[in-house]
Symmetry: C2
Subunit: 186 residues, 2 copies
């Protein structure tokens, strides 16, 4: 049965995301989940393996959430709107599947594990690449410049909202991205 395994991942993800990875010890994950230490080490080789599993779990949840938010858009304008309104909703705590907003879990993890050769840092890069690809697929206008800029604004929006503990200006992002789009179409 892998229900215990899943419970461990869910608990670890929640604690790691809300409080940080280094400050949460393995014992805290065990206490919160009510699972024995031996069982944890039966499923995972190490804390790092548990972290990677939590990252994968978060990637799947986030990716599907974003996909569902973007797939109703039928134009580049509406794609841009859908993206930033979704982010605003997330930051404001209205997206229950993503939990209480505390920045991007991947950016946060990369901050805590920044050694270039770390599997954790590499997975964070992978996640960002996948999300960029997803946004790129949604855009009709195939422009690297537009895609780069939308992703840059997205990162800025998330990072700033986190540090300031207050949602940044989604409308400014939308206006800016639309402006760039308009320029490209002329």
């Amino acid at each position: 049965m892998n229900t215990k395994r899943q419970l461990l991942i869910n608990t670890a993800l929640e604690l790691f995301y809300q409080q940080g990875i280094h400050v949460i010890g393995i014992n805290e994950v065990l206490k919160q989940s009510g699972i024995a230490k031996k069982t944890l080490y039966h499923h995972f080789d190490s804390k790092d393996a548990l972290i990677l599993a939590a990252l994968q779990q978060r990637h799947e949840v986030f990716y599907q959430w974003l996909e569902s938010k973007l797939n109703q858009a039928d134009s580049d304008e509406s794609m841009i709107e859908a993206l930033f309104y979704a982010l605003e909703s997330w930051v404001s705590g209205k997206e229950s599947v993503l939990g209480h907003f505390r920045g991007c879990f991947f950016v946060n993890s990369a901050v805590e594990f920044s050694a270039a050769d770390s599997q954790i840092a590499q997975y964070c890069q992978y996640h960002k690449a996948q999300v960029k690809k997803l946004i790129g697929q949604g855009l009709q206008k195939q422009s690297i410049y537009l895609l780069d800029m939308v992703c840059l604004l997205k990162e800025g929006f998330i990072s700033q909202s986190h540090v300031n503990q207050q949602a940044a200006d989604a409308q400014a992002c939308i206006n800016t991205a639309k402006l760039a789009l308009k320029t490209l179409s002329e």
Copy 2:
């Protein structure tokens, strides 16, 4: 004599910025600086006090660095260029006063200490507000929208460069910001 105090701050800042705050113990700071533990606790009440001193030190260095980079600009276009070329130079490791780039120390610290009431998180917000003010003072066009957008792009640039361990596209930021500026002037 406060040379020991300053050496502690410099050493702590270097280690905290390069490796993270939670992973660096007080003993590592002492070993690297060659200073006795009693002396550290003579100058600082706790590790948190040392962290705050390191944040203040970083703020002063960063603020003056940015000021010097921006004060040659004589138009909004050149301000935008100066800002993003400076950031690109920093990310590429060409700004020796800022050390090897590992993201924004304030964003990183806010990630590690995100409790809303934490002094550390509050200082990070203060730093961001000061930097925003500095950029705002350099812009002739007094537009909240323009300033917000430039800061959003700045955060995106820094965050993305850090996660991807590669400088993001400064030219895309410059083009976008100039485009917004041009629209405002019409």
